[in-house]
Structures are given as structure tokens and as C-alpha cells.
């Protein structure tokens, strides 16, 4: 699904965020990406989503070399991914349902079909009945679940999550991980960047550890 070979990323400022990173994420796998703050976790996810481009090495997503994609191909790459990133905020001026509908409108779904899918996605994250609510009126954990519903509503085969449990208490964090596990059980691949080692212990899975831009053995 995802293959990194000898990937380095140097940001324009000159800082080298990743150095020679190689790993593979198989279909249906759940993998944690851990490491200290500034280790390069978010950078890995941004390279996969085509938000940043590698300075060297190759990033393959579904056999596509993301680093070489033409700009106009990037939106179609993103439609096959579910992104739960701090950059992809909820739109606070519209309802929960409207937020979850957004990826489907972008992909050009029939309105009725889109409605049906959006409600089903909200169902899966336990937010049925909150369709009309504004995100502002939800708790942090509930907002995160709206973001997850929005990420999965177009049924991507890969989910990328960057610190999905940040600022959540243990119960809410566990609820989020349970949701992820349920998607993983139906074959969705997940790459979850987190520095919450506690969480990784409670929901064991393969771990990739980044140390100052390098993958620890």
C-alpha cells in the first residue's frame, strides 16, 4: 500500500526533517508512528498525502510515485486516502452533516447517495442524531469523531491520522482507538502518528519509531 525507500525531506529553511527513511505498510495493517516532538512524524504523513514532496527517495502509494505526481493528480490521490490531520479542520460555520458531506460533494456523488453515506459514517462513529449540530457545540472527542467520519465517508482504503487523541482524556482516546480498530478489522490500513505511548500499549500494533528524522531499528 505504502512504501518509503530512502526518503529524505529537507524543508526550505534547511532543516532536515527525515533522513533515509524506509518502511512499508501492508494492506489492512495498523501501524503506529511514534517519536519525540520534531522527530518527523507529521512530515511522513504529509509526504504520503502529497502535501509535501520528498527531497530524495521515493514514496509509493498504491504503486504511484507520489513525489513525481503532477499537481493536478494530487486531488485524486487524496480522495483515496482518509486524512485526520490537524490541518484538515472542521468547518465551524456548518453542521456536522454538512462537514461529513464535503468529501462526497467534492467527489461528485449524487446528493441522495451522499446523504445516505454521510449518515452511515456518523452512525459508525457513534454520532447518530447529531447531524444538525454545529461542531462548536460538540466536545473535543466528538469533534474528532466527526473528523473521522469525514475521513472515512468516501471509503478510502488507507487512513492517516496525526495525533488523533491529542487533548483527549483516556476514555475518549480509547473510544477513538476502538473506532480505528473497527475500521482496521474490515480491511482499512491505518498509519497513526502519536506520542502517546500509553495508548500504543493498550492497543498493541506494529510501531515505527522516529528519532530525529531517522527510523530506529
Amino acid at each position: 500500500m505504502i512504501v518509503f525507500s530512502e526518503v529524505s525531506k529537507r524543508y526550505p529553511g534547511g532543516h532536515e526533517a527525515l533522513r533515509g527513511v524506509s518502511f512499508a505498510l501492508a494492506a489492512g495493517e495498523l501501524v503506529y508512528l511514534t517519536g519525540h516532538s520534531g522527530a518527523g512524524k507529521s512530515t511522513v504523513l504529509k509526504l504520503i498525502a502529497g502535501i509535501e514532496r520528498p527531497s530524495s527517495g521515493t514514496v509509493l502509494v498504491n504503486q504511484q510515485n507520489v513525489g513525481n505526481l503532477r499537481p493536478r493528480a494530487i486531488p485524486f490521490l487524496r480522495r483515496k486516502l482518509g486524512l485526520i490531520l490537524p490541518e484538515a479542520r472542521l468547518l465551524f460555520d456548518r453542521s456536522v452533516l454538512a462537514n461529513v458531506l464535503l468529501p462526497l460533494q467534492i467527489a461528485g456523488y449524487e446528493p441522495l447517495e451522499a446523504q445516505r453515506r454521510a449518515r452511515a459514517a456518523l452512525d459508525k462513529v457513534g454520532l447518530q442524531g447529531r447531524e444538525r449540530a454545529l461542531p462548536m457545540t460538540l466536545s473535543g472527542g466528538e469533534q474528532q469523531r466527526v473528523a473521522i467520519a469525514r475521513a472515512v465517508v468516501a471509503r478510502p482504503s488507507i487512513l492517516l491520522a496525526d495525533e488523533p487523541t491529542a487533548n483527549l482524556d483516556e476514555a475518549q482516546a480509547s473510544a477513538i482507538m476502538e473506532i480505528f480498530r473497527s475500521f482496521n478489522q474490515v480491511g482499512v490500513s491505518l498509519l497513526v502518528a502519536t506520542h502517546d505511548l500509553h495508548l500504543a500499549e493498550r492497543f498493541p500494533a506494529r510501531r515505527l519509531v522516529l528519532e530525529a528524522g531517522r527510523l530506529a531499528p
Partner: protein
Amino acid sequence: MRSWLMVQRRLVVDALQRLGRSPMSSLLNIVVLATAMCLPIGGYLLLANVERLLGNAGAEPEISLLLAPETGSKDRAELERVLRGTAGVRGFLLVPREQALADLQRRAGLADLLEGLPGNPLPDAYVLRPASGNPAEIAALAQTLRGLPKVSAAVYDAEWTQRLQSGVEAGRFVVLALGLMLAVAMLAITFNTIRMQVLTDRAEIAVAALLGATPGYLRRPFLYFGALQGVISGLFAWAILALGFAWLRGRIATLLGEFALGGSPVELRLGDGLSIVLFAACLGWVGAWLSARQYAAA
């Protein structure tokens, strides 16, 4: 097809909501765009109408040869012989002074006034049809005819149409220059409005891009907004012009009375109005496209 229509409807509703989000500045924009349009378009339509009427009036140019008072039938026979031999004269008709007076009385309703005159002040005259419709050739012919014996004057109606014609040409240049300035101003106004919109929607645009929106998808609401703003301004301009023309028409009818040209120079047809709206919509679209291309990419 149905879903395509629904998408279009959603985009139009979205554009209307955008207009409604800041009603004062939207209204101000629309009024500015509409008034900017009225000046050159009104001028253009006036000119086009005048030209159309000139085309009707100038179709058959005529030269009137006014004869000296003491011209007898012998002189006239001699003159007719010369006229027949003059190149450039297609035909002519004698209008005796009695007939001319009767015509005038009938046409202008001046019977009472003319009744009071001691005699008939009008001379005998020939009405000539030149072979050519070219104003310069007609002028040259009139010049030649003025030199014939017993001819006191050679007047041709083309003189004033010609003057109007050159006036129309100068006017067309002014209107074109105004029109270009208008187009640039409209583009600039739309460009700036859209720039503000893109800035307000920055966060939303960034999120949509992460969710797989193409640049085209991100641009579309702004294009619809620009076009819709253009359409509404165009309708405004149409309304203003229609009112202005109706007022002008009343004034001109009073001025010209029954000497009117067989049509009013101030007509605003359905096709003209629709063209204004279409033109404004296209300009709005292009302005929005330029702006969105520049700012949505960033």
C-alpha cells in the same frame, strides 16, 4: 443530468448566499458596476440607433435646385436640356412654386401663418436624383449645378446626414474608448471582490483541497459568484437605461414633432438588454477567473 442540474443549482444558491453575506458591499458593487456600464452602453445604443435611422433616411439622396425668381419657361427648357446632358444626374422633377407652397401648408400645418403672407415666397425648383450615393460626389455635383444660369441655390439633404454621420463616427470612437475603460474597471472590481472572498474562505479552501478538491472545483463557486454579480449588475444597468431612454424618448418626440425620422433614436430592444446582461456576466466570470486563479492557488 439531474445531478448535474442539482450541482448547478447548489452553486447558484451558494453564490446568492455569498452576495447576501455582506449585503451592503454587494449592493454597492452592483450599483457601481451598473452605472459604469450605463454610460458607454447607452452611448453605443444611441449611436447605433441614429445610424440605423440615417441608413433609412439617406437611402435616396436628393438635390434641390432653387431657381431665380424671374425664370421663365424658356429658361427652364434650356436648363432641363443641360441637366439631361450632365453626367451624374439620374433624373429630375419640376416642383412649381404653387405646389411647393401647397405641400408646405399641408405638411407643417402652417396654413394660417402662410395665409397671412402677401404672396408665395417660394421659388420654382427641380428635385434631382444623383446617380451616385457617395456624399463627396453629391457635393461635387451640387457645386457644379450651382454654377448653372438661373440657379440660385443647390441644396442637398445629404449635407446634414453627412454631418451626423461624421458625428456618429467620432462618437463611436469615444464610446469604444469608454467601453474599454469600463471593461477594465469591471474586471478590476470583480477581481478585487473575489480576492476578498478567497481571503475570507481561505480556511475552507485549504480543508477542501486536503479532501481532494481540484483547483477547478475550488474556483467554481467564485466564478459563479462573479458571473451572478455581473448578471445582477447587467439587469440593473438595463433597468436604468430603459428608464433613461423612456425619458429621452419623450423629450425627443416633443422636440422633433412630426418631423421625426420614422423611428425614435432612443430604442432599447429586448436583444440589447439581454446582450448587456450576457456581457456583464462574461466580464464577471473572467474577472473572477483571473482572481481565483491567482489567489486560490496560494
